[in-house]
């Protein structure tokens, strides 16, 4: 069975894909769907949801359109999630690959360096980094990438170490290929599946991290994000529940979708490890 047929038969994963596509579509087409700028005051403050047709989710403490805020917030969340994951992969994959392939001192060095990052709690480090930099979208993205690459390096290292022992790597050595070429062409392609799975889950974690940072007021003040919306609404949570409820739901749906996709990818890429099939 091909990868795609296996993936398609996984109902959870397909639900995840549909949800994610919906979120992406809303983010991309936000300016077309919503005439209102998310920062612009359009009505009286604290307009409850479903009370006006053009402001379906009501307005916030300053009378801004919550639905538009949500849509623009999706852009920030997805962008930060994707870019920070890519950056984390760019750091983690080469480091882990070198450590796993060359072993010895290279491995020692790379792993001690990784552990240095792992001993500091993720979120605390991210807060410190954002506090040091200016809180802009790029610095937040970078901070998230810096706290999330160590698991990637460890995963890639372990995978590379196991693939390196396979006989086809010996065969490539005998063919006179350079070590670097063997690592890039023979070993790394065989570690792709777990990296893809991990990356899909990392996007979800990154979105949560960004939301948490924004909630604490460490987000980019010029970017509307879900975390910022919840943070701004926490003082009025009892009088205006919808201000924190809808962005919360948005975060849950997006993270859930990514997790479902990640699990589906895992099952489809590693069929022999899949839990639901018991074929000999």
């Amino acid at each position: 069975m091909s990868f795609w047929t296996r993936f398609r038969t996984n109902i959870g994963a397909m639900v995840g894909v549909v949800l994610l596509i919906a979120v992406i579509a809303i983010a991309v087409f936000a300016p077309l769907i919503f005439a209102n700028d998310p920062w612009q005051m359009v009505q009286r403050p604290f307009l409850p949801p479903f009370s006006r047709e053009d402001l379906l989710l009501g307005t916030d403490t300053l009378g801004r359109d919550v639905a538009a805020q949500l849509a623009y917030g999706a852009r920030v969340s997805l962008l930060v999630g994707l870019v920070s994951t890519l950056v984390a992969l760019l750091i983690g994959v080469p480091l882990g690959a070198l450590a796993g392939f060359y072993g010895g001192l290279v491995d020692e060095g790379a792993m001690r360096f990784t552990e240095f990052f792992q001993t500091i709690p993720n979120f605390a480090l991210a807060i410190v980094l954002v506090a040091i930099f200016e809180p802009t979208l790029s610095s937040i993205t970078l901070a998230i990438a810096i706290v999330s690459w160590p698991p990637v390096a460890r995963l890639v290292r372990a995978e590379v170490m196991s693939v390196r022992k396979r006989e086809f790597v010996d065969a490539a050595m005998l063919a006179g290929l350079t070590k670097r070429r063997i690592l890039v062409r023979q070993v790394l392609p065989n570690t792709l599946s777990p990296i893809i799975v991990m990356a899909s889950l990392m996007v979800a974690t990154a979105i949560l991290l960004e939301s948490s940072l924004s909630f604490l007021g460490l987000g980019d003040p010029n970017a509307m994000s879900w975390g910022y919306m919840i943070g701004a609404a926490r003082t009025v949570i009892r009088s205006a529940w919808w201000l924190s409820f809808f962005p919360g739901v948005a975060i849950i749906i997006t993270v859930l979708a990514l997790n479902l996709i990640g699990e589906g990818l895992n099952d489809a890429l590693n069929p022999h490890l899949s839990r639901r099939k018991g074929r000999a």
Binding site: F168, D170, A175, G176, Q186, R279
Partner: protein, 537 residues
Amino acid sequence: MSTLAIEHLTIGLPEGADRPFAVEDVSMTIDKGQILCVVGESGSGKSMTANALMGLLPRGVTVKAGHAMFEGRDVLRLPEAEKMALRGAQVAMIFQEPMTALNPLMRIGDQIAEVFAAHDRFTQAERRKKALDLIREVQLPDPEKIIRAYPFQLSGGQRQRAMIAMALALEPKLLIADEPTTALDVTTQAQILKLILDLRDRRGMAVMFITHDFGVVAEIADEVIVMREGRVVERGTAAAVLKYPQHDYTRRLLDAIPTGMLPEQRALSETPALEIKGLRKIYRTGGGFFREAREVRAVDDVSLTVARGEVLGLVGESGSGKSTLGRTAVRLVTPDGGQVLVGGVDLAALPEEELRTQRHKVQMIFQDPYASLNPRQRILGAITDGPIARGTPRREAEERAKELLEVVGLGADAASRFPHEFSGGQRQRIGIARALAMDPELIIADEAVSALDVSIQAQVLDLLRDLRERMGLSILFITHDLRVAAQLCDRIAVMQRGKLVEIGPVHDIFLKPQKDYTKQLLAAVPGSDWEQRNESA
């Protein structure tokens, strides 16, 4: 009355499998004290039959029809609770790989005692005593020590004995043995087979013995059933089936067995393709401030030559250092001392960069056809990588690769496919083509046919023999199987614990072995008596 009677057993495979039934309309009976050998190649359904009896069928695989009467009850249709009571107590099973079948975190004694505990027999103290008795019965050395040992502290043969002790704990009436000696060395295999024969005589168990090796059949079987693609193709007494096989397939299987018929002696060239002088490789493990490091002399001062156009067989049990020697000769392992001369160049002493340009001189065919090809690379790439790295123009390398695929009997269209589209035997052919593409002076074949079924094994050996004639190949053929070595090799070198025990022309080694160890190895080959009887008849 028979202990077990299987009637018209049919086991269905899930949809999308290569055939609808794993086992189709199979019947067999085993009497008390009888050993029934179920023989077949991989995929013949022989293990499925055993698993069905034990209720160990994988999910999606179900019994579609038939009965298996044991003690007047149909074991296929017992409720799970009764099956559990039956397993271990009445029907016991031993597996191919004793390391994975034993719990690595439990002491041997506790694992045996657990069998009693699971069936609520005896008190703690009695269980321990019984476990000790069993360990003695399966002739494990130093029972008091073994009972407290963990599986990793035992050798492969000892682990299999421990498994047998567990299986025997509750005095089962039927013992199912699924390839129990396949993972073992010949001498250990001979001991385990003898143990099973002894136990059968002493306890009068019925034994269902699953194997792919007709040599083993000749050693222990009373009755034989030959299976192919889920069907029984032949049945009868061991003597009858081995001597007068009726079915074509049985005949082909028997023909495919390396018979120990020795090849004609050939004149060997004087020029050496490979000279190994005083080679040494020591592995050190453990060691620290308080403990001394453990030293294993994997290769201990070995010298030998392979003449141009010669096939030298390197034979030994696992741990004899034969693979290390092979890997040192291609410099996948760097030796601690000695020389590896290929065409006058000492590969063992070259620095890395120079070595890379000399690599092509010695190529290797690997053991595991599933691990030796990159699953994400097309065959063409696998074969042309080496020549292109050496500077051959891509087009030329690709032409040559296609030619070589023809030579090894696959056809040029194999080039654009991925490894998973090929069977084990075909992959081994690809491995051979890959080695040939480098125009090597010497090929090292490390257990190159050990993972293959006998009939496939015979084909690959034929190919190697043919290539030897056509291309004048020099091959260092590493194997644990003397019968295979006898078929192909001009000379044979026997290794034991890192040392070269004996080396000489294949006829001398087989007919007039000088050293005791060589004699032992020859005697342990399963079915050796039967072959001799056959030849004299």
